[in-house]
């Protein structure tokens, strides 16, 4: 069993895909599966201590051009990749993926064959740092349906005009609330800046302070007032407290069942598909 099977969910997915990719594939076939690298391309094979890495990203970045430029591709079932049509420049190239931590950056130029060494995440916490924000923000505990309609400050702290859990989610959580401007769940939001936390009595007071920051601080603050400020602050403080105390981000769905085609389809989703981000 590889280290990554210790972390179910997305990590299992990669192991399964790897197994699926290798099943029926002989060593000779892998050797023959060379990557044809043109003069404007970068290509090669990504391996880790577990062998070829399928469905991980190869990132090529340069600051040599008039503006910073990045191109990202995903590896195939055999860990092969090809970054096509790169403008002439020197690039930093590295590997990122679920179940991994970033590999060392390697300098390269178009036309090179570049085999890369991926680094398996040493633990679940390290791996989770690369999860999408969704898997962190979904740790938020919203008030139960039974708390609606709100009963106001003398009651449960939710404004009486908020008549359902859905309305609460709409107004203070989702696109008509915080996520309408911010990617809640990213590191900057799931952690409270030390400059604020160190000056606050507790995390609830820290949230009370952080939502006032900047030129739209008064808007953000008013949004909390409208739904029931203290209850909303308590909800966010509870979330960031649990994150700070090590509650792990939710796992991605395992795709260990289903046909290879189905697994590939999901893998495409995970890995950014056979896509190229130019």
């Amino acid at each position: 069993m590889s280290k990554r099977t210790l972390y179910p969910g997305m990590v299992v997915l990669l192991v399964v895909l790897l197994a699926a990719a290798l099943a029926g594939t002989s060593t000779a076939q892998i050797k023959s599966a060379t990557v044809r690298v043109g003069i404007t391309d970068l290509g090669g094979v990504v391996t880790s201590s577990n062998g070829p890495e399928a469905g991980v990203w190869v990132i090529a970045e340069t600051t040599d051009l008039p503006t910073k430029f990045v191109k990202i591709v995903v590896t195939d079932d055999q860990g092969r990749y090809l970054v096509p049509e790169l403008p002439k420049a020197n690039y930093s190239v590295w590997v990122r993926g679920y179940g991994l931590v970033d590999s060392s950056k390697v300098k390269a130029a178009p036309g090179q064959t570049l085999n890369l060494k991926a680094v398996v995440a040493p633990d679940r916490k390290s791996a989770a740092e690369y999860y999408p924000a969704l898997y962190w923000f979904s740790l938020l505990q919203v008030p139960p349906k039974s708390d609606f309609p709100g009963t106001g400050p003398p009651g449960n702290g939710i404004a009486p005009k908020i008549r359902s859990q859905g309305e609460w989610i709409r107004d203070i959580v989702n696109t008509d609330g915080c996520t309408g401007c911010h990617q809640m769940g990213d590191q900057a939001t799931r952690e409270i800046p030390k400059s604020i936390l160190s000056q606050a009595a507790d995390s609830k007071a820290a949230w009370d302070r952080r939502i006032k920051a900047g030129q739209v601080g008064s808007w953000m603050s008013a949004g909390f007032d409208q739904v029931g400020r203290q209850r909303a602050l308590a909800m966010y403080a509870d979330w960031s407290d649990r994150v700070a105390h090590g509650e792990p981000a939710k796992h991605r769905t395992s795709t260990s069942s289903g046909s290879r085609a189905e697994r590939r389809r999901h893998y495409v989703g995970l890995g950014g598909s056979q896509s190229l981000f130019a």
Partner: protein
């Protein structure tokens, strides 16, 4: 992916082409709007991988500025510095057949000119005067590098062309749908003549035409029509000549605006709420935001309830006018709700997913490479695009820098014979706080191009 702005500003939307014909402006520059953060269009030239700026202007120097928005408390990143400074507050765009850019931009104070108000001889103003409005239009002509301010009585948020070169608005003000005929403008440069607007009026008496109406705060009268006090967030002209728009709220709605032969006095509206507490709907949802219409007239919208939703008016079984159609909950059969992938909040039972999708775009020309009429939603917490193919989602994650968060999106075909290399989907990174992204303070917004190759080794 290109850096294309300075670290203190943020992007809202971007435009690369004419959405009706995405070969317009092939290989040309793309433009981004900074909303409340700056008074320029940021421009990327993908051929040279270089950026530039188009300075914007206002007509009235007294136009409000975000620089006057006082800090309620210092920023952990910028301290007491007010980093945003914008009078124009460009929100969204359209590009026309000539590659000109029409931006929703503030050009004056909120008080409208007298000809927008009661007593005016302008036909729309006579019927429904407007005293206050926010953004007008600013036209940028790349050939001359000139900008022109256009004052409209109503407000622009999203800006979308129909097939007659008329731009249709969103953002109200409440109760109003406005338009701007660019053909009239090109002939006359008369902004008063080129614009019009109408109230949203339901055909409440069910006679198929617009009549005298009751106001929203009056009792309904079965012999009259009925005005509704809504405004569009997203809007999109449909193939049949109607204009669809999303109405945020609880549960929120889609509204179909049918201009008629003389829109200020003939336009009618249809009102379709998202199914909510509706026993006839298998899935409940709420609060649309972004929306688009596919080539068959089906509306696609993203819901704050964590769903992508389609609304197919042709599936409605009951009457689409008259008193029963004024409830908004009269056509649950037209709606299909797809739960976004990923987990939900703890304890949440009234929504589908914790995913938060800001906007969506229908890829009518297969610019991504997964088929025509495919809807793409911004997965603002999945850090990617959520692409609905054959009823299932593909997640196209942007893994670096962490923090990808998009609003507006479009696509362009640079070479119709170029296969995957000749086309792509474009989105700016639109978080209001680019300094929250991986890299922290100093990280800028980026323009991201998505392309789908036939296999991972294609070059």
């Amino acid at each position: 992916m290109w850096d294309w702005a300075d670290p203190k500003v943020y992007l809202h939307d971007a435009i690369s082409t004419d959405k009706r014909n995405p070969t317009v402006n092939a290989n040309g520059p793309m433009y981004g709007g900074l909303e409340d953060s700056g008074d320029y269009l940021t421009v990327l030239d993908p051929a040279s991988n270089s950026t530039s700026q188009v300075k914007l202007k206002v007509r009235d120097p007294e136009t409000p500025s975000s620089a006057n928005m006082k800090l309620a408390a210092p920023s952990p990143f910028w301290g007491n510095e007010a980093i945003w400074n914008s009078q124009t507050s460009v929100h969204s765009f359209s590009m026309d057949k000539q590659g000109r850019v029409w931006a929703a931009a503030r050009v004056r104070k909120p008080k409208t000119p007298s000809w927008c108000q009661a007593g005016s001889d302008q036909i729309s103003a006579k019927l429904f005067p407007i005293n206050y409005g926010d953004r007008g239009l600013e036209l940028y002509e790349p050939k001359t590098r000139e900008t022109t301010t256009i004052d409209t009585c109503f407000t622009w948020g999203h800006v979308n062309f129909d097939d007659k070169d008329v731009l249709w608005s969103s953002f109200g003000p409440n109760g109003v749908e406005g338009w701007f005929d660019t053909k009239i403008w090109d002939k006359t440069h008369d902004e008063k003549k080129a614009q019009g607007w109408s109230a949203f009026v339901l055909d409440y008496n069910g006679n198929g035409k617009r009549d005298a109406y009751t106001e929203p705060n009056q009792p309904a009268d079965p012999t009259k029509d009925r005005r509704i006090d809504v405004s569009f967030y997203g809007d999109s002209p449909a193939p049949d000549g109607s204009i669809w728009g999303s109405v945020m709220g609880m549960p929120g709605a889609l509204v179909r605006f049918i201009p008629g032969s003389h829109p200020p006095e003939t336009a009618l509206a249809e009102y379709y709420e998202v199914p909510w507490n509706n026993p006839r709907a298998p899935v409940q949802g709420f609060s649309p935001r972004g929306m688009d219409v596919d080539s068959k007239g089906v509306v696609w919208t993203v819901l704050s309830s964590g769903h992508l939703a389609s609304f197919d008016r042709s599936k409605c079984k009951g009457p689409l006018n008259g008193p029963s159609a004024a409830t908004g909950q009269h056509c649950p059969e037209g709606w299909t709700l797809y739960k976004f992938p990923g987990p939900n909040y703890k304890g949440a039972v009234e929504n589908g997913s914790a995913e938060s999708a800001y906007y969506d775009f229908v890829d009518r020309f297969d610019m991504l490479g997964v088929g025509k009429d495919v809807p793409l939603a911004t997965g603002n917490l999945s850090e990617g695009l959520l692409v609905m193919v054959d009823g299932k989602f593909l997640t196209l994650r942007v893994p670096y820098p962490m923090g990808y968060y998009a609003k507006g999106l479009d696509g362009r075909i640079d070479n119709p014979n170029g296969g995957w290399k000749g086309k792509g989907i474009y989105t700016p990174i639109s978080t209001r706080a680019p300094f929250h992204m991986e890299g922290g303070k100093g990280t800028t917004s980026k323009l991201v191009k998505f392309q789908m190759r036939p296999d991972p080794l294609a070059n």
